[in-house]
Amino acid sequence: MMDGPDVGWYLIVAAILFGIGALGVMLRRSPLIVLLSLEIMLNAANLTLIAFARQQGDLDGQIFALAVMAVAAAEVAIGLGLIVAMARRRMLLDVDQASALRG
């Protein structure tokens, strides 16, 4: 028996968060904010994992979430590295401008 809301409510929060993150990726032009949006999506997934872990009383979900955190951190690190490299090449930090590769 859980105190407070059902796991379902957490899941709804997670789902909305995932949607917000996805919207961020799809709408924003600044790669930095896109990166942040990705983080939000990963975190939404994490919340889902943890909620299910709680629901099932199974620790695997939490472990998974922990690993995801590391991965998310790594992704941010690499993303930032890229953005810095781009900035040094004096490239515009705008994903809409990064379209030399097309067709």
Binding site: L11, F18, G21, A22, V25, P31, V34, L35, L38, M41, L42, A44, A45, T48, L49, A51, F52, Q55, Q56, D58, D60, G61, I63, F64, A67, V68, V71, A74, E75, I78, G79, G81, L82, I83, A85, M86, R89, M91, V95, A98, S99, A100, L101, R102, G103
Partner: protein
Amino acid sequence: MIDTPTVDWLALSPTIALLAAAGVALLSALLAGWMRKSVAGIAALLGFVGAAVCAGVVFDESSTPEVLLEGTMVRDQLAALAQLVLGVTGAVVVLASWSERRRENHAEYYALLATAGAGMVFFVGADNLMTLFLGLEWFSLCLYILVAIDSERETSLEAGLKYLIVGGFGSSVLLFGSALVYGATSELSFPAIAAADASNDAFLYAGLAMILAGLAFKVSAAPFHMWTPDVYQGSPTSITGFMAAATKTAAFVVTLRVLVTAFPAQEDLWTVTVAVLAAISLVWGNLGALAQRDLKRILAYSSISHAGFMLMAIAAFSDRGAEALLYYLIPYSAMSVGAFAVVAARERELNAPVTLDSLAGMGWERPYYGVALWIFMLGMAGFPLTGGMFGKLFVFSAAYDAGDWWLVLLGVAATAVSLGYYLNVVRWLYMRSGAELRLAPAGGSPPRDPALGIAISASVVVTVGSFFVVQPILDVASDAAGSLPF
């Protein structure tokens, strides 16, 4: 005191070989300039070769699949075969990268290459959703860096950024799907998911859909493929080859494994979906390639269409389909790596991106490379005397056997369209003389590059060899497919 889990070192040996190689390569950064490159390169080469050898041993030792480490990974012939392919592919890529014009970062380059290889080698043995996700991220992160490693080229950075962001998006979807599946079954490991009774659970289906989408992203199946042309074009050419061959191999083997081991009960749904994805990929990839001028881009679209063919094999959901897929991967990997190696050679010669125009007359000036590219193009188009033909044949047989005759017809039509660009490459190679075009090289001898030559030769041997030596390969593929519970 907690029980230390028993670790099956043999199963991990390919991964470890590559990680060790990566370590050595990374350490070589401390060495002087010229040594740095050779030490790192040789380490990576040895790592990949070692991984291949270890994979061979594993294959030999694992006639029955064995689940390891609480169901996080599995040691079976399917993984071993994939590892073998990955190892060889990686070794060829190392050779092809040997004389890449990169002034620094050799150590990191080879270290990352080996690490990416290790990730893939691990990935194909993943047996639960967590290792699946982590393995995927492992090699993907390496690839994000590798794609952008030519940071003096803006296109390289652009490709890296695109790959990173779209890739991150894809992995989030995969992750969310995994979470849903986990929620539905409270299990992470594939066989347990299959065993859990959740045959009508909305979470499970939604999760499966998202996992499928995430994997489709990695195999660059349409409509999840859109990053592919851009990234393939922008990356350093050898890395493109690596992605085209190795990433695809790894992702396809895992897709097959996940769908077959974890979701056999949902078979009726995902086979159709995969078939539809295959169809879309065939159409999109082939049509897209037709209008391209840049060779890497053409090959990128072509890889999308090949993804379509391989998805056909998965959609068959049968022994025969699995065999077909595994067979297909072998010549396909060789052809892609080989083709990109030739592109790399031309690129180095001209010091410019390789477009169709810059191929003009190459067939006559550089007969060996020309013939090799010709063979790869024919192979991709599925002409006889290359394994590509048998690949298509097996895939078609599997699809037909599974009742997807419409897919066979579509495959046929797609192949016919694909001739339009494969043969176009050959046309530019031989039927336009370089003299007619300003872009052509000044003649003279190209940079000597024995390593590249070896890489191309190896690819040619595999491409052509897999045509003549079909049965042994098929036996191996059949053993590997036997690891899966059909």
